[in-house]
Point group: C2
Chain length 471, copies 2
């Protein structure tokens, strides 16, 4: 930089900037969240090379790194989008003749019902969400679980992530509060702990046992942390799991609930993949709410918060930012504080709220839209299942790679055993083993995955996460 | 509560709940945000009484308390909703013959262009927002100001409020950081300071001078706070103002910029009401970006963040949750940290992003939709202006009430001079004078407003905020 010219040394010109990396909130600086890692940048560069006509061993980059189905050409569900279009522009419904053949009868009826529940997509709603939609979500939960659900315990959010951040912001009283997080995990949770300055207490998922939760391991980690003075208050469980693809068994869930009950832990469950299970007979999804309520009176004050979203399932309406969480056994004064905090941002977007109604209450047999809806969803489910199985089998055939079969989600998390030589080479490049492997894979065959380090993994092991989305 | 029955005193049954008002984040508890005040509850009760057939001096409650135009029957702009419907369900555009007469040509073209810019409402976008939309916003800013704008400095957000919270979260390094806030003000800013544990430094808007900003007053408050050890780093300005309705004059804006420059303050400007000015000739809106850029080279590193939204203007698409902020003169490393933090919640909803494109780039003369668009917007503008003037005149005729004429926004903030007797009566009921007045008004004539205390006011004065929305 050139020196300050003579006569320019006034107060204003030497004033330092106020808002810099050095002066900003350090908790934000400490958040680990890979947004444009080296790998994503390299993938972009390769795409440009291919476009410029460069000859490589492959002709396109395959993105297995983001769980964004519609970006990868999965088509939206027709019924959902028909209703969405009608609620956007209700004028279409003024003369039914004009839209004959364009919209089925049940789509029109649903749009009208939604607009009776809340008259326009253009107005702020109640900060917890439209009361009618919360009522409909409560009905869905009751059907799913067989236990009551109160609309006042339901908060609509801008995707599940915003809900998790809202709850974590309230939960974390001070920097000695600890939250138990799975390893591997979806990185949102570690990010939230950094952001609100909590301690993370990691528990390893049991790779040898199909990535199940091991309550002995969990108790050990919990007692260690408490012995060191950490005030561990909550446990996060992701079921079905991102990134492992594991859908929990009922007995395993019961063990987790018992542990939380005995140890005095709030249970936060990320159940966004609840629709994404591959075998609804052999390994069905159970909600933690149902498990807790089935365990009787002694568990009636069990503290549980569960999160759900329109971004997964077959809808995969990621860009919609629609989600909700349900409180069970939570202090009503905490509910009131969550409501107050939600009010500061006014409300979640109404079209995301409407989409929740559609996703949770889809067309039923006999409805005009049912046949098409059934075909579309069956195609998506079976294609996801087929691709998951095929990809898992292919991975297991590779030397040094082993992968547990997924029972749910849209992901796989294979382990890679790297030869000494590769680890040494990675070291030389200042990379972790899995980062090195993922970069080699991108360069060699054009497949872009996320190194396991991004999701955390047991020390000394190497993995990568791949979605099963690209055809 | 009944005593614990004998034999039930095991560890689990006496365990206290983990997540309670006592154990939660105290910053959240300290946030002041009236969501369901006594007044709103009384309004609901009166509505029920009226519905039950009770005879009162009025036959309906008039809601002047929330700035939510479409909830109060303002119709959405047809062109915006036509494009929105087409982007929701692009299948409609497959056979143009089928939608002849339903959608004008330019709505179809705009929908196609938006879908070329980002292929579906159902996918996550870049965390800063769709690059195409950021480019279009930059073009709008350049047209508005006559100075360059870089899409990389633009972040799309879920309404302006989320943007303000995101920036404040980064800005507030520790609890000694101070932020200057106007009095009266929209309560989001005080809430954000409580939430992220900053000190607020209030400066009074000059009611005697049409609610203009008084830089002498501002400097006095700033120096007082700094003398007391507060590390004042930023100044918030709302222009046009919520709740006062004041649109700032160019000279006044320059004074504010000079003060920030001399004193080393980041300037955060809430410009969501930029379209809502009543006389575009006599008192036009100027953006602070334009003012700063017009002040020459010396101000080239001036630190400015400005916020905008689709919730106000004539669109009033509040439920959409679409907004953006633009950084100017901000450390690129802060930009990178904002990007990282935005990524944790993935992205703002795509339909809100598309709506920003529509609102900022509406139909132009010669376009098929222009005539209708022009009529709709002119009607809304002139009706808002007429209602603001009429209401202001009516208020000034009331005994003990005086109100500055609004030059912008959708609000008025009249002062009320309460007689001794009324203040005594309010005291007896444990209410503030303005709360008492607002409740009396609701009970007597069915008009629901917000007491001035909710927006803060100069000590010893009483006001209320009323929107000019209900016809």
């Amino acid at each position: 930089m050139s020196p300050v010219p003579a006569g320019k040394e006034n107060h204003a010109s030497i004033k330092k900037p106020v808002f810099t990396l050095e002066t900003m909130n350090k908790n934000v600086v400490n958040v680990q969240y890979a947004v444009r890692g080296e790998l994503a940048l390299r993938a972009e560069a390769i795409k440009e090379e291919l476009q410029a006509g460069k000859k490589l061993a492959f002709d396109k980059v395959i993105h297995c790194n983001i769980c964004n189905p519609q970006q990868l050409d999965q088509q939206p569900i027709t019924f959902f989008r028909q209703v969405a279009a009608l609620t956007e522009y209700p004028e279409l419904m003024r003369d039914p003749k004009k839209i004959e053949g364009l919209f089925p009868k049940d789509a029109i009826e649903r749009a009208q019902t939604l607009l009776k529940g809340f008259k326009t997509l253009g107005a702020y709603s109640h900060s917890k969400g439209v009361p009618y939609i919360r009522q409909r979500i409560a009905e869905f939960i009751e059907r799913r679980d067989g236990f009551p659900s109160d609309p006042e315990d339901i908060f609509l959010t801008s995707g599940a992530s915003s809900g998790v951040l809202l709850v974590m912001q309230l939960l974390i009283e001070n920097s000695n509060v600890g939250v138990m997080l799975p390893v591997p995990q979806y990185p949102l949770y570690t990010a939230a702990c950094s952001l609100f300055d909590a301690k993370t207490v990691s528990y390893a998922l049991d790779e040898e046992n199909d990535w199940a939760l091991d309550v002995n391991e969990m108790r050990t980690r919990l007692h260690e942390a408490r012995a060191q003075g950490t005030d561990v208050r909550a446990l996060v469980v992701i079921n079905p799991s991102n990134p492992t693809g594991h859908c929990m068994k009922y007995e395993n869930m019961k063990q987790v609930v018992e542990m939380c009950h005995e140890e005095g832990l709030l249970l936060m469950v990320d159940e966004v993949y609840q629709e994404n299970v591959y075998d609804k007979q052999a390994r069905p999804f159970h909600s933690f709410k149902k498990v807790v309520r089935s365990m009787g009176e002694e568990y009636s004050d069990f503290e549980l918060i569960s999160f759900h979203s329109v971004s997964k399932g077959v809808a995969a309406e990621c860009g919609r930012r629609g989600g909700y969480f349900e409180l069970a056994g939570i202090d009503p004064r905490v509910n009131a504080q969550l409501y107050k905090l939600a009010s500061v941002s006014l409300c979640p977007n109404i079209s995301g709220q409407f989409m929740l109604d559609l996703v949770l209450n889809p067309p039923q047999e006999g409805d005009p839209s049912y046949e098409l809806f059934h075909k579309e969803t069956t195609d998506i489910f079976s294609s996801l299942k087929r691709r998951s199985e095929k990809l898992c089998a292919a991975l297991n055939k590779l030397e040094g790679v082993s992968c547990n079969k997924a029972t749910g989600s849209m992901d796989l998390f294979p382990q890679i055993r790297l030869p000494e030589k590769a680890i040494k080479k990675a070291d030389e490049q200042g990379k972790k083993g899995d980062e090195f492997y993922a970069m080699e894979m991108l360069n060699a065959i054009g497949v872009c995955v996320v190194p396991g380090a991004g999701f955390k993994q047991k020390a000394g092991t190497h993995h990568f996460r791949t979605t099963v989305l690209p055809p």
